[in-house]
């Protein structure tokens, strides 16, 4: 879309306004109902806490972000690999997809103890986060891999393309838009996964992540700090999503309907 100067400013102003409006609403709710800070702190208090507790919170943020990124990489790799395997034949998909579903629906709290028995804490955390985040990647990638233009498939068959060539040159590019939707979902889930995994399976110690901060702050009734940690998680989530959306845009810009704008 070719935006005029005004429209371009608007495209920045609107989200900022929306955000400011949300903060204002939050502030008003707290103020008008006289909600005490130990139940719901006002945004200014949360911001102040964010600044004052930054040394502690930033360290935890960093730990959680590292887990998140590792989980996202593993979930993406695993989801895509599974999708590729499942796309090979209906039999494989019919036979093994149920296991993927089982993995998706297994509650982390239930399997974490088992994992802790057999895996190192780091591996256990990564496994938990993977379990939380891989399914959308798998589902979306598989949907993309199996909805290829049948004529293009015929073309590859006619040219005696190997399965590998068909995968690399046809199915994977065709699945890209759908995969990227899955990836954007997985970005947020990896963050949740990191947090849940940290609670259920994480080793503690100096380098504890935001989940630990939340539990700790909750225990100490330090609700403003708890909300500061939550705010960091929210910001991290939005930044991750934004990055993945940007990646999506860059990869699809020139050829896909969702991003190629029509003028008129």
């Amino acid at each position: 879309m070719r935006l005029g100067h005004g429209a371009r400013i608007l495209s920045w102003a609107m989200p900022v306004l929306a955000f400011a409006g949300a903060l204002l609403a939050w502030d008003l709710v707290v103020r008008l109902n006289g909600i005490p800070p130990f139940i719901l702190p006002a945004p200014a208090l949360v911001a102040a806490t964010l600044v004052s507790d930054w040394p502690i919170l930033s360290a935890s943020l960093w730990v959680t972000l590292r887990t998140t990124l590792e989980a996202l990489v593993v979930a993406t790799a695993g989801g895509v690999a599974l999708a590729v395997v499942f796309a090979q034949s209906r039999w494989i998909a019919l036979s093994f997809y149920p296991f993927a579903v089982i993995l998706q629906v297994t509650p982390i709290i239930a399997i974490a103890p088992l994992l802790l028995i057999y895996l190192s804490p780091d591996a256990a955390v990564l496994t938990c986060a993977f379990v939380v985040a891989f399914f959308p990647v798998l589902s979306n990638t598989l949907a993309g891999l199996t909805s290829v233009d049948p004529n293009l498939r015929d073309l590859f068959r006619l040219n005696r393309a190997s399965r590998l060539a068909e995968l690399l040159r046809l199915r994977i590019p065709a699945a890209l838009p759908s995969f990227l939707v899955g990836l954007r979902i997985a970005g947020g889930l990896a963050l949740i996964g990191a947090i849940v995994a940290e609670i259920a399976a994480g080793s503690s110690g100096q380098g504890s992540g935001l989940a630990y901060r939340i539990v700790e702050a909750g225990y100490r009734l330090n609700v403003p700090r708890m909300f500061a940690a939550l705010a960091l998680i929210s910001i991290a989530g939005v930044v991750i999503y934004g990055s993945l959306a940007l990646l999506s845009h860059v990869l699809l810009r020139r050829w896909h309907d969702s991003t190629v704008a029509r003028d008129g």
């Binding site: 015929d154 590859f156 006619l158 040219n159 005696r160 060539a165 590019p173 065709a174 890209l176 050829w255």
Partner: protein, 271 residues
């Protein structure tokens, strides 16, 4: 293919005597929706022959072409294919729609069959470049399909089919979206290609003029269900050049072909 080395001027007799490249014998095809697209279709494409398929819209030409290529299995009847699987990617196919990879640039789309056949990078690039120029798209190698006009897309598809210099070329209305000038030039290019490499060509067209100009033999189909209703062996006295279009024989054969199509259309009507 050995019988075909004398360039564009050759008698029509040779290919008619040549052994079959593909035979469809009593082929029927019904789709899951219940449509009986073909029924008892007998059709032989001889080696080195240039065969045109004419027929009313929806009569089963595309279906027949797909069966010839092995892209669809017949519901009944037999298909015999005598094209050596040995000589690599030897089938060129032009779909009725451009069927390009939207994520790949024009050059990459055209290069695809070469890449799949394992042709070296530089060589593939050179050959693709040349073929893109051949279809009049020089300078568009780096464009994406959606940045092209309909006719340009179809030409990319054509370039892709020709770039491997295939032994068997199956084309589904390859020139329908092109202006007459481009069409004539590509017609001649096709004849030259065929003369140079002696490939076997079967193609669908809706232009009786084009079919007479290009083909050794015209098979006319009628629809519902699709079957062969007529066959015209085209007689061309000299080389097929623009001059051929001026001859009385050409006009007469066009009339005959048109009449045959009209007959087929009439036969298709009372479905």
């Amino acid at each position: 293919m050995s019988g075909l080395t004398s360039g564009a001027s050759r008698s029509a007799a040779t290919p008619l005597a040549a052994p079959a490249a593909i035979s469809l014998i009593g082929v029927g095809k019904s789709y899951p929706s219940g449509t009986q697209a073909l029924d008892g279709l007998d059709l032989v494409v001889r080696q080195g022959e240039f065969l045109a398929l004419l027929g009313p819209s929806g009569c089963g030409k595309s279906t027949a072409l797909r069966i010839m290529a092995g892209l669809a299995a017949p519901s009944s009847g037999t298909v015999e294919r005598h094209i050596g699987a040995a000589d690599g990617a030897s089938i060129g196919f032009v779909f009725q729609e451009p069927t390009l990879m939207p994520w790949a640039r024009v050059a990459a789309n055209v290069r695809l069959p070469l890449d799949l056949a394992g042709v070296g990078r530089a060589e593939a690039r050179r050959r693709a470049e040349e073929m893109i120029e051949r279809v009049g798209l020089a300078g568009f190698g780096r464009a994406y399909p959606r940045e092209l006009s309909g006719g340009m897309r179809m030409r990319v598809s054509l370039a892709r089919a020709l770039v491997t210099r295939p032994h068997l070329l199956l084309m589904d209305e390859p020139f329908a979206a092109l202006d007459e000038i481009t069409r004539f030039r590509l017609n001649d290019d096709l004849l030259a290609l065929r003369a140079a490499f002696g490939c076997t060509i079967a193609f669908v067209t809706h232009s009786t003029y084009e079919s007479v100009y290009l083909a050794d033999r015209i098979v006319v189909m009628s629809g519902r269900p699709g079957r062969v209703t007529d066959e015209i062996v085209v007689e061309a006295p000299g080389p097929r050049t623009a001059a051929f279009r001026g001859t009385a024989g050409y006009a007469e054969q066009c009339r005959r072909a048109f009449a045959a199509v009209a007959g087929a259309a009439a036969a298709s009507e009372p479905r």
